[in-house]
């Protein structure tokens, strides 16, 4: 696994991403490379742009300039005579289907049971046979520790359980990349652990992950690389030891001293 990580090919490459919300610059020339099998954790104060960056990677958010490549393929845009033109919906959807996204607010489909949530996209997007998908979905629910909740509707589940179903739902698409957007921020403190455990396990299995989080313990333990963002730019990046034990930048030091 380590060899794979060291030799991993580029899974995500972002070049000079710029994004504005009105007059506010939320991403100001972000460069980011994530190799296959790598776990990259993005930390930083709220409003620093980390969630927006994550949302740009699967084109839930448009960018104003720059390029984002998933395994060498540009997402969201085509280049015509040096100008970026938004890509066809079908192309964007196809690339997105290979990227799992876990939301802060879970966003489970409330009119479907846990199992139905998990099998929905493989059946209707990938057109895989129902029996096969169901079998895999049951195994995934078991993996996240919710085998007994397969027939429960989301509103009958706790936040932690909902988030684990959401992770299973993303995994059912066999993604090559998983994006976690503050996956534990909306949870009661006692439920955070069960979700982090699932994420930890995924990382150990070699899943490529980009994780936006406030859980510094998780970042230190699981991350291959930690990125500290502040005010729309990447301030510092490096191994967890570098960032947490020997932060070079003043803003990183300040942020960590407030959190730890």
């Amino acid at each position: 696994m380590d060899i794979q990580r060291i030799n991993g090919i580029e899974m995500v490459r972002a070049e000079k991403i710029v994004k504005h919300f009105g007059s506010l610059t939320v991403l100001d020339g972000i460069d980011l490379t994530v190799k296959r099998g790598q776990v990259v954790v993005i930390i930083g104060p709220s409003g620093s742009g980390k969630t927006t960056l994550l949302r740009c990677i699967n084109h839930l958010e448009k960018i104003d300039s720059g390029r984002i490549y998933i395994e060498g393929e540009m997402i969201g845009y085509r280049e015509v005579n040096g100008r970026l033109i938004e890509d066809r919906e079908a192309t964007i959807a196809r690339i997105r289907s290979q990227i799992g996204f876990v939301f802060q607010r879970f966003n489970l489909f409330p009119h479907m049971t846990a199992l139905e949530n998990v099998i929905e996209a493989p059946i209707h997007v990938l057109h895989q046979p129902k029996a096969e998908v169901k079998e895999r979905a049951v195994a995934l629910l078991e993996k996240v520790g919710l085998a007994d909740k397969a027939d429960s509707y989301p509103h009958k589940l706790s936040g932690g359980q909902q988030q684990r179903v959401a992770i299973a739902r993303a995994l059912a698409m066999n993604p090559k990349l998983m994006l976690f957007d503050e996956a534990t921020s909306a949870l009661d403190p006692e439920l955070v652990g069960e979700v982090l455990k699932v994420m930890d396990q995924l990382a150990k299995e070699g899943m490529t992950m980009i994780v936006v989080t406030h859980e510094m313990g998780f970042a230190r333990e699981v991350a291959d690389e930690v990125i500290f963002m502040d005010k729309a730019v990447i301030v510092e990046e490096g191994s967890p030891e570098q960032i947490f034990d020997h932060p070079q930048n003043e803003r990183t030091q300040e942020f960590l001293s407030m959190i730890l």
Partner: protein
């Protein structure tokens, strides 16, 4: 003087049963077409492309801004006069169905749009993140949730539609109202026959009320089990407006 014997004579006559049937099928077809037209109008109106949203806005403006009666008269009397080619296609039935459907489409568009807007935007994002395209996400994720918001006003619309069909009497369509009018005038028993017509309207709207509350229960996000359903207030109790358990009528917890 009110003559009960005339009411009794006509109440279960083939004449009024067939008139009620006409009223019913015209309402059902018009409402169905109205929902379909409304769905497309709503999606067009919500589009970010002006070439889709502007025609939808214009349509809604036109059909909601003028009386249905005028639209019906225009279609039946006006258009064939100006466009003689239409004459073979404009019958009393087609005119009534087209006018009611098109008009209803404009109202349904606004109801469906409100329903779609009520769904948490995170749902569309989740669907997209799973690789769903807009149309699939709409069909599988958004509309089933919007339905909970759409169905109650849709029910009211159909209730209205059952009664709106009476407007077709002005172009001589033998639904309940025109039947009562024509036969009432022949026998000088307007009052009695209009009472019979009223009786049928009440039968139709009451039956529909029961069907509507059944559908609303089926769409309940909390998916009450059989025993819980029995404990729920009956339709009549809800209509009378007391003892309502408000939490059963709004969306799921996630949407509040």
């Amino acid at each position: 003087m009110f003559r009960w014997d005339i009411v009794g004579q006509y109440l279960f006559s083939g004449l009024f049963i067939s008139a009620a049937w006409t009223t019913l099928w015209i309402a059902v077809i018009s409402q169905t077409c109205g929902v379909i037209i409304g769905l497309f109008l709503a999606l067009m109106r919500m589009s970010r492309y002006p070439w889709l949203s502007l025609p939808a806005r214009a349509y809604i403006w036109l059909f909601r801004g003028s009386p249905l009666l005028v639209q019906l008269l225009l279609l039946y009397f006006g258009f064939p006069e100006v466009f003689p080619g239409l004459v073979p296609y404009i019958t009393i039935y087609s005119a009534a169905l087209i006018a009611f459907s098109f008009n209803e489409g404009a109202y349904m568009a606004e109801i469906i749009r409100a329903g779609i807007t009520s769904v948490d935007p995170g749902q569309m994002e989740a669907a997209k993140s799973l690789g769903m395209r807009y149309a699939l996400a709409m069909r599988r994720v958004i509309l089933p949730q919007a339905a909970r918001v759409i169905v109650p006003p849709l029910g009211n619309e159909f209730n209205n539609m059952l009664k709106t069909t009476s407007l077709a009497s002005v172009i001589g369509l033998f639904e309940l109202t025109y039947t009562a009018q024509v036969y009432g005038s022949q026998s000088f028993s307007y009052f009695e026959l209009l009472v019979v017509a009223t009786f049928y309207y009440l039968i139709l709207t009451t039956l529909w009320g029961y069907i509507q509350s059944y559908i609303e229960r089926r769409l309940d996000p909390n998916r009450l089990t059989g025993s819980e359903l029995k404990a729920q207030k009956s339709w009549t109790q809800r209509m009378m407006g007391f003892g309502t358990r408000g939490d059963r009528l709004v969306g799921p917890r996630e949407l509040r």
